[in-house]
Subunit: 438 residues, 2 copies
């Protein structure tokens, strides 16, 4: 994409209510614009990142055996009356009356909707187990929205729902998501720590929050130093019940707890290895048995002919919030540092002298070659000073900057800068293209 034809309003100033670094940088880099309190438009560059995050979430859900569908944003209040949650759910639920004065709401979560769909579709134990998920915009009417997309009102969430014949099956479905979540975060360069958690308005017996460490995080967290090792991907057969349980047990053996769930005895045991930090919640999973299936009349015929009320769980990832979490975890004083897996573009081409014909011709050609090779490239072809272009690419956080200037061209070289390390290297154009297209 040529910057001269793009829509990328980079700014220097940020409003006073942008307190945390991810919020400031998302505004400065032209990723988002607020359109109402806690409600954001995703500008072209931000939407590219959001779609990459969404796609990683999708791929890892699919790999874990979950099936994607899409639920509507507007729900009928009647469904929530069936589960008994309509009155319980506080002011965060955006309640709506339609033109016929029927009670509707903008879904903050979808246990009721999915339970009713599943109830009306299945008859037999052979239709289970299933885990269904969707990635859809949700609304929670926060009393004081803040921190940009980290605590906005309209947000993109992946929510999955599992249906099993018994508790053991539900535990396996829970474990699938547990491992899928860690893989999801690892692919975005994030170390997320699963912590035992309260179940809140979702309900249930078993729950983990996944927390990314960040000094500006909303919660105080405590964990064993073992968690400081880098995140890795588990390549596991998701149908292997025991294998999956071993992985989950391995992870949960190391102490990690939020403020509400601290265990003093275990902390004393750990001693010097105890770490204290702040963290951002990027996922939350729940097992809640028959809390929704029983009152909503979801039942199937069991293998023995008897009636079975399925056990359920639900599993959320804050997709839009993840963008903030990634920036909190990966930035410097000059701007964002995107991990390649979610970067809006892999390469930023900088034409140092847009007023120099030869230099512009070379930069145009290189940009074309990168596009032809399928490398996602942002090309700063504007008539601006080189210094301003460096600053822009730095704040945008594009992983590789390819700098084309008249002096280098005379010597037959271009400069390649790694945004994360700051390392710069002069190399021939051919080598640079080979490196970037690899």
């Amino acid at each position: 994409m040529r910057l001269s034809r793009y829509f990328l309003p980079v700014t220097k100033e940020t409003p006073a209510d942008a307190q945390i670094i991810s919020h400031k940088l998302m505004l400065r880099a032209g990723l988002i614009r607020q359109t109402a309190a806690g409600i954001y438009a995703w500008l072209p560059l931000g939407y590219r990142v959001l779609r990459k995050i969404e796609q990683i979430v999708r791929e890892e859900q699919d790999r874990a055996g979950a099936i994607e569908l899409l639920l509507p944003t507007i729900q009928s209040a009647d469904l929530w009356r069936q589960s008994g949650r309509y009155e319980d759910y506080g002011l965060e639920m955006l309640r709506i009356k339609d033109r016929h004065d029927r009670d509707m709401l903008f879904g903050p979560t979808a246990e009721e909707v999915i339970t009713s769909i599943f109830r009306d579709a299945v008859r037999s134990y052979r239709d289970l187990p299933r885990t269904l998920y969707n990635i859809q915009w949700k609304f929670r009417d926060e009393v004081r929205p803040r921190f940009g997309v980290m605590r906005g009102r309209e947000f993109l969430m992946k929510d999955a729902y599992s249906f099993d014949l018994d508790e053991a099956g539900a535990r396996h479905s829970y474990n699938r998501m547990f491992v899928a979540y860690l893989n999801t975060y690892a692919r975005m360069g994030l170390r997320a720590i699963p912590m035992q958690a309260d179940t809140g308005p979702i309900g249930g017996d078993l729950s983990h929050e996944f927390i990314v460490l960040a000094p500006t995080g909303e919660s105080e967290v405590f964990y064993h130093s073992n968690w400081e090792r880098p995140a890795e991907l588990s390549s596991v057969d998701f149908d292997d019940v025991d294998g999956l349980q071993r992985i989950v047990s391995g992870y949960t053996a190391d102490y990690a707890a939020t403020d509400e769930k601290r265990d003093e005895a275990r902390e004393t045991e750990i001693g010097d290895a105890l770490r204290r930090s702040r963290g951002v919640e990027v996922g939350h999973i729940f097992y809640f048995g028959t809390k929704y299936s029983a009152p909503m009349g979801l039942k199937v015929q069991g293998a023995d002919g008897g009636e079975v009320v399925p056990h359920m769980g639900s599993y959320g990832i804050g997709v839009s919030r993840l963008m903030g979490a990634i920036i909190e975890a990966s930035h410097d004083e000059n701007g964002i540092i995107w991990p390649e897996s979610v970067a809006p573009y892999k390469v930023g081409v900088i034409n140092m002298r847009a007023d120099d014909e030869k230099c512009t011709a070379a930069a145009d050609r290189i940009y074309g070659q990168l596009c032809d090779a399928g490398v996602e490239t942002l090309y700063d072809d504007r008539d601006e000073r080189g210094g301003a272009k460096f600053a822009t690419m730095d704040v945008l956080g594009i992983p590789w900057q390819l700098i084309i200037g008249p002096k280098g061209l005379e010597k037959g070289v271009v400069e390649l800068k790694n945004r994360a390390t700051g390392e710069r290297e002069e190399l021939s154009l051919e080598s640079a293209l080979a490196r970037l297209a690899g």
Copy 2:
């Protein structure tokens, strides 16, 4: 995907309010489920089709030079007060009060939001022209929702907005979308006819509706028989102002009008070549000058230093509605007939004898080979009679059925059925795989 592990509630009965064929077939084929009046969940198979339609729309927008972003669903009423439309827009607008009693709404369209974002981001004539688009859920509170997703309340729309320095530029932006729309529909196997149209609540001077012919369509339409030729793709340079105008003039030379816009003089002229039918609106484009930019204070500095108020247009495609339109245009008495470009799966593998070990082993292997070759395949591995499986694949509309039975296997052949033509052919497994993977 194995049907035994999928979530695909195929049904025989449809409710009495499902009057038109696309609505009936979408319910029967397990593509959608109604969750409230005029509000639908997209089940896994339906969501696959929706994403394919969405992707074609996206690719053709990108090709025409439009830039994607994402606008929120919930908008502030204040923006609509700036344009003067808040009071004008009728009961179809879903009005909402948030917890602080502020007036909000679920966006039925987004001229105000995009104008305000663009206003706050641009300063100079160099920032224009731009066309920005987004594909997002909209809500229109229809008094009597019906025809399934064709006239639902929550629907997926692609809406684009163009900003130009003058009327001539705006006309070119309009032409870009005009041609991009025809290409979009052609890729889905649809012949859509552009017809001069009223501008309604969007406003403006120039407007075309794109209408797909269907006997169950909502509008009566009149057109020259020349429109009966099949749709073709225009491969055009979208920056070529004159070339694009010639294409648009070529298309609009042939008479086509909705009931409100009939021209008796021209119809008399056409004589025998006049056709009368019913149609479904699948797109609507508008040029409306400074209707939003002027009252909302969008202006930039012109090349001569003076102030310029940009000319705008907006361009909508009903993405979810298109699924209904495609089914209206492509089905038979046995079910849906998907064009390959939007089919949820390209191939349906039918194991005729799930109780026969050899047959099942062969079907399993073939399914694996198709998946490995990257062919999107739905595998009916359920323990059901062959006849029931045929009926299911027919109603689902998968373009190719690959039928594996014990008798054929003895002869070393499988059967390949083309859903559209009904043609069946016996061929070796190798030939079948080569054909389908091609």
